[in-house]
Amino acid sequence: MIRTSAPVETPAAGAWEELVTTALLGTDRRTPPGGAPGRDAPSALLDAAAVQTVRRRAGLRPAPAAKRPEPAPADRRPPLPAAAARRLAVLLADRPGAAAGGRRSTMPDLMELLPQWLAAANARGYAAPPEALPALLDAARGRTDLRPAALAFAGPRALWLAKLNPDWRFALRATPGGGAAPHGPEDADRIRARWEEGLFAERVTLLTAIRARRPADARELLATTWATERAEDRLMFLDSLRTGLGPDDEPFLEQALADRSRNVRATAAELLSALPASALAARMAARAGACVAVDHTHATPTIVVEAPHECDAGMERDGVVPKAPTGRGERSWWLGQLLEAAPLRTWPARLGGRTPQEIVALPVADDWQGELHAAWCRAAVRQRDAQWARALLGPPSAPEAGGPGAVSLAERAKLLGTLNAAERADWVAGFIATHGLSEAFQLLGVCAVPWAAPLGRAVVDALNIARDAGSYPWSFSGVMGLAERCLDPAEASRLDGLLAVPDEAEDASPGAGGYWAEAFQRLVTTLRLRAAMAEELDAP
């Protein structure tokens, strides 16, 4: 109710209180004030209350203003083109929960396209329409994977909003420095203050943000309070050094090798081992080198492995975990850790000047191959060594690439991550051409979007083959879903031939042809939609 600053008539306020009291108690217990002659008490009370009610309402005045918040900082990015703004409204309106369907229909799943739309809008540097911010924040709240892109697009006004609504507090935590990311030396005091007084989450985001831009500053900031941090905090802070890790970080990490906490020591050792020139890497190389050698007494040269017999203090200090998990032999456990931390580039010299390809191709004595190759895979991923990754991946058409082999699919997916986008796409395309789609899902997930043309073609061809083989499309719904999001929209026209419902072959699964046509329809629709989305964002 609006506050009355000045009652219309001074006695009125008192008279109204009197009426309310009388009404609460009842006129049988209390006689109402005044009242026209000839009216019974309740009617007189109602008469008076009616007059007062209308008078009170008619006399309403605005209230004094509360303290105004600081206006939102200006968003200097250009506004979205009109069509793109409408598209955003539609994408945001398609929220999960409304009408969840059973079977996938021929219609695109709009929510799945939102991440892509956001990435495209961010790449073009557009500002979000203010009225869309609440829906954007709600979407980001429900889906953490969406947060970075949604918050980047939402811009400074979203953070201003988040300060007013507890539901959106996550935005303040997720954004470095709660939106006002510090820049330049003039902010040194603010950075220092936030580092020393901030909440843990704020300090992590601050450190991460600085590390991303100026790695040395972040390390120095961390060093100022390192000795006084709690062990689990030290672990998290140390983890932030992964970003922009370089030789300069070695002294700090060496010091952390002597940390009180075992987890901190292990993390420091892991980071040092990713620096092939570090002293720790050299020590590990020496230890690992002692365990692996080429034996020429066999008919063909063979790798022989002699796992360590003990985990000495030096190994432990360098991050080797002495206690093996249940079900693993101690010696192979130690070996794995040594191999994984040793720089890969030292192996060719130790193993007879062979290239990584040649080393991987060597037979390994006594069933050590799985252990050895798995450790090299981890090392290749950690050291981001494309040459070794290529050697360990092998040719995509090799029979063991698709089935059981020394290197698992999960490891292959990680190895692929060290290759450049084009090489990755080519390898996966080759894999699909030989092994089909059923094992390809994991590998497709690490490929750059939109898929390169050869990869896209391989996927579509494989889907086509699967259809002709008479299976149902939902066996491939994972790949279909990926294709909707990742296939280059330019490929849409190539799919037109797949939209028709084929004549049913005798040995085919009943109705499969129709379902396939529907699935391809949905794929094409989604691709067209994605093309339209991109066009709208590029419109003047």
Partner: protein, 451 residues
């Protein structure tokens, strides 16, 4: 009239949807994929073929230029109206020229539009003839009206008795009496053919459980109900205008007999409220030239959307006639001369003090008025503890938002749109505060719906 280049926004199209499920389904159809042979004509027809799960695509056609909002036809079996295909087609049309190019409507679309327009014209001609001849038996109608008035009088008298009993025993007892007492009284008022009284009585029942301060609210509402009873019982002595207001408040059917006013009517807001039996749609219009604000009401059976749908931000060249009664905003939509089209018109705004004064003045004509439609200019949404205010940019005064406004997602759209800077806000201003319905950014920009 040409419709090319004058597109609706997605929000405006989605406002036509009968429910959330249709809105979602329509959104998904709003892309070129499933559509073929889509097009639109200068006369305001949009058509297209939509691929569904069946072998034959659905034929969908929408007449944008129709008087009471768009008219739809689709060969799909959906009972929703408009169906998702019609919504999808309109979204497609709203999004771009490329997929819905201008052209000549195919026969199946053209025939339907032509048939519709002819029927509308015939109906209009028949209506004109019918009103000339007048009602069939004026004497019987007069007797019916008299009988109904007698029943309402009996109902109002009984209600007065109940109110007197309540106050004799005290409102404190009402908290224990519970809902049943009022439900029974409301049923009696329905029997008395006084739906307006019945609705007020039913609301009384909810007050004792409505939180702190309920005795004040209950006394206020009892007093106003008493005032309405008294107004009815003494209507002969009231000025004509006030008597008409009393009759409509009691719930007697009236028809819009005001002179038709032709104007460019901007659609300010559209929102639905629903109870168990009825969905009520309120559409606020602002006349660009006459400056008046008019309220259109449209009803739908429970769970169904009312048929009239006018997207916010469009303006229509149409005639509007007021209902009788002083201080009433309600009006009826008459003839429309052009389809609703986007516009740059904005209603002129007032300060918060002027808005409060306007409500006070309106109570002179209609003391039962809950709120008046008002556009506030240059106001800033400001948090005030748990509640929100709209603060004048240039003065230290503010209107609090109503409790219902504080719980709507529209509040946050308003706050986001403002960003702490002044905006123009249309809404309803009354004794419980201000309910924002639509806002415009300070500089250029389209209307943003808040309800």
């Amino acid at each position: 009239m040409t419709l090319q280049g004058v597109r609706w926004t997605a929000d405006q199209v989605l406002a036509l949807a009968p429910d959330d499920a249709s809105r979602k389904a329509g959104s998904k159809l709003g892309s070129a994929g499933p559509w073929s042979e889509a097009g639109s004509s200068d006369e305001g027809t949009v058509w297209g073929l939509c691929r569904g799960s069946g072998s034959r695509p659905y034929q969908t056609v929408v007449d944008i230029a129709d008087a009471g909002g768009p008219a739809y036809k689709c060969s799909c079996p959906s009972r929703k109206f408009p169906c998702k295909h019609a919504l999808g087609l309109l979204l497609l049309w709203a999004a771009s020229d490329a997929t819905v190019p201008p052209g000549q409507a195919p026969d199946w679309a053209e025939q339907w539009v032509a048939g519709r327009r002819q029927r509308t014209a015939e109906k209009k001609a028949a209506g004109a003839a019918g009103s000339a001849s007048g009602s069939a038996d004026p004497e019987a109608a007069r007797r019916r009206a008299e009988r109904r008035a007698e029943r309402i009088t009996a109902g109002a008298t009984e209600l007065e008795q109940r109110l007197a009993d309540l106050l004799r025993g005290g409102l404190a007892a009402a908290e224990q009496a519970g809902y049943g007492l009022w439900e029974e009284a409301a049923a009696r008022m329905v029997d008395a053919q006084a739906p307006g009284l019945a609705a007020r009585v039913r609301e009384l029942g909810a007050i004792p459980s409505s939180g702190p301060g309920w005795p004040v609210r209950l006394l206020e509402e009892c007093a106003l109900l008493h005032l309405l009873d008294e107004g009815w019982l003494r209507r002969e002595g009231l000025p004509d205008e006030l008597a008409a207001t009393v009759r409509s408040r009691v719930g007697l059917p009236v028809s819009a007999d005001g002179p038709p006013v032709r104007d460019r009517w901007l659609v300010l807001a559209q929102y639905d409220t629903a109870d168990a039996k009825l969905t009520t749609r309120r559409i606020w219009l602002h006349g660009a030239d006459c400056g008046r604000t008019a309220l259109l009401l449209s009803y739908g059976a429970a769970g169904r959307a009312p048929e009239l749908a006018l997207p916010v931000g469009l303006a229509l060249d149409a005639e509007v006639s007021a209902y009788p009664g002083a201080g009433q905003s309600r009006a009826a939509l008459g003839e429309q001369f052009a389809a609703p089209a986007p516009t740059r018109i904005r209603p002129p705004g007032v300060t918060t003090a002027q808005a409060a004064a306007r409500y006070g003045e309106a109570l002179r004509d209609d003391p039962w008025l809950e709120s008046v439609p008002v556009t506030l200019k240059d106001v800033i949404p400001v948090p005030d503890g748990e509640v929100w205010q709209l603060v004048d940019a240039g003065a230290d005064s503010a209107l609090p938002l109503t409790p219902v406004a504080r719980t709507r997602p529209g509040l946050w759209r308003l706050v986001a749109l403002s960003g702490g800077a002044p905006v123009t806000v249309f809404g309803e201003c009354g004794h419980r505060g201000f309910t924002p319905l639509t806002a415009w950014p300070e500089s250029e920009g389209e209307a943003v719906t808040l309800c």
